[in-house]
Amino acid sequence: MFLSLIREWALTPVNNYRLFHNFTRQDFFAQFTASVGGFLWLFLTPIVHIIIYSFVFAYIFQVRAPAGFGETSFVLFMMIGYLPWFAFADAVGKSTGLLLEKAPLITKVKFPVQILPVVGSVIPYLTHGIGFGILLLYLATQGYLSVSWLLLPVIFFLQFLFTLGLVAILSALCVFLRDLQQLVTLGVTIWFFLTPIIYPITMIQDEAVRELFLLNPMHSFVNLYREIVLLGEISLIHLYIIVPVSLLSYVIGGWLFMRIRLAFGDVL
């Protein structure tokens, strides 16, 4: 039972390729189809955030990239962590509305509902993946390119799986518990400040507290991106964290979603 559900969950985008493709295309273009600015708006939020954080932290507070990262400017250091984070935050933040918005569809049309969290996670990763890609291209021309960059897609994909699991759980629970919408928004903000993105973790003096940050998988992801891009090396400890955590999140999230999806019709 467990295995067949997981199998179905994992194969959803493959077995329903046409639907997946059409959904993704539609939702992707729906983000900006009615606006004049078009897809530029998608990048506006992260860019403005980066400018604000650069101003506050790099200019006012004079935060510097930690010693291990050499001469890298703090703005670059921050952006490498912030752009993948934004994909994560965007996906999780929108997760609570995924099923509620599509309620008429879910109650009236029989289709593989599990495709909705997948599409809902793919789109932010697609959008902000483009932004991240542009930044990487720029860094590649600045002489940062190294063999270890080959790991970047793997890490990014693991982060996607991690996100997808969370999105599946949150979207499904929100059908039963709409209060989650507010809680998730708040939770993402807290999570953001608890992840060393706009500050280097080295600014935390207490060794014990720093150890606690290892409980936050997003910290490991952010750290891995920075190490790979800027230093061309990785700390294995972070890899050891994210591989099982991502797979676990993906499997448990998928299983939970598949378990309770049949009840959606009654509640929505």
């Binding site: 046409r18 008429p104 289709f111 019709g265």
Partner: protein
Amino acid sequence: MPRITVNNLHKDFKIYERPQDRLWEIITRKPRHRLYHVLSDISFALPDGQSLGIIGVNGAGKSTLLKLLVGTLQPTSGEISIEGQVAALLELGAGFHPEFTGRKNIYLNASLLGVPDENIAELENDIIAFSELDYFIDRPVKTYSSGMFVRLAFSIATMVRPDILVIDEALSVGDMAFQRKCVERMNQFRAERKTMVFCSHSMFHIQELCDIAIWIDQGRIKEIGESDKVVGHYEDFCNSKKTYNSIREDLPEELDKKAEADEAEAEPTVQDCRINSLTVKDIHGNTIDELEPLSSVVMEMEVEVLKDGIEGNFGFAFMKSSEEPHASFLTTEIDSVEKGPFSKGDRFTVSLTVNNFAMRVGEYYVLGGLADKSGLLWYETKFSRQLSIKPTKGVGPIIMDSSWTVRRS
């Protein structure tokens, strides 16, 4: 081999007083809901190639049954087995994205209905042609009128050629011309021996399009059988219920005895009177459902007045469909006929003889009823069974009583 088999189907909804009760129930495992039985004990089998109509008053559980068949709801207990691909029109245009053009929406909608990859492009032109959207197909769906919206949705759902088509009230929208197209399309479906499940308040459509009808009342099957019969009984029940509801409780047995509606059906309208029967006979008094052109037809109905002080005119009409009269007869200008005020309990047997019936081809229904003083508003009407005209030689829709003279000069 039945396409659809339903066995002992039950569906309950859990009703929670407050939304948080649902949460507490999950946590404490202590029930905090009331059960509402939407459907109980539903069993039937629908053979391949037959179409099924579901009728019943609002809230009887029709839509829930359709959702269970389609699979968007899960039964509380019981089994549903369905052979083949199902396309459902439970809500027209569910899944349309308002910002996108009709053309783009075709793709998503068709893939939701499970069309194989390569076929959508093939079907695209047919869908656009059938929906008659022309130029609008490349405009965002949000600019569509509700009729256009429905036309597009219906075109997509029927164009994808499912084995089983499930439709909820789809025909109650759109203009007459499009409704006719829809009926044609659905008849084509039947001709192809596809299976159809159809729920509607239009008894005319149910009779036209369905072989079997299920009458659901308060979540249970009240009657199942040939659509003509079930519709007849249902109509009679509706009319009687409306009339007597305020006076006394329903007496279904008694009403069932009264129901001689096998012969006819009626549209439920105002509860001032009741047409107890409507028959079409030849001049010898034999009930007929086939008619020779230029013969004489006698239409006869029994009208019972249920309210004091009604004034009105009797009328008959030959109808092509429920909305389309081809010939009408009213007593407004006939001074010899009694026009009321009638009193409650008055019964009339009204008959009208039409000489030299002039329609040459086609199928008609006879409508009989009592209209108000002006002749514009029907108090009550009833439809006969379908009356078909025997084929004759010749062309054109009309035949006229005529005599020839050919002289050599």
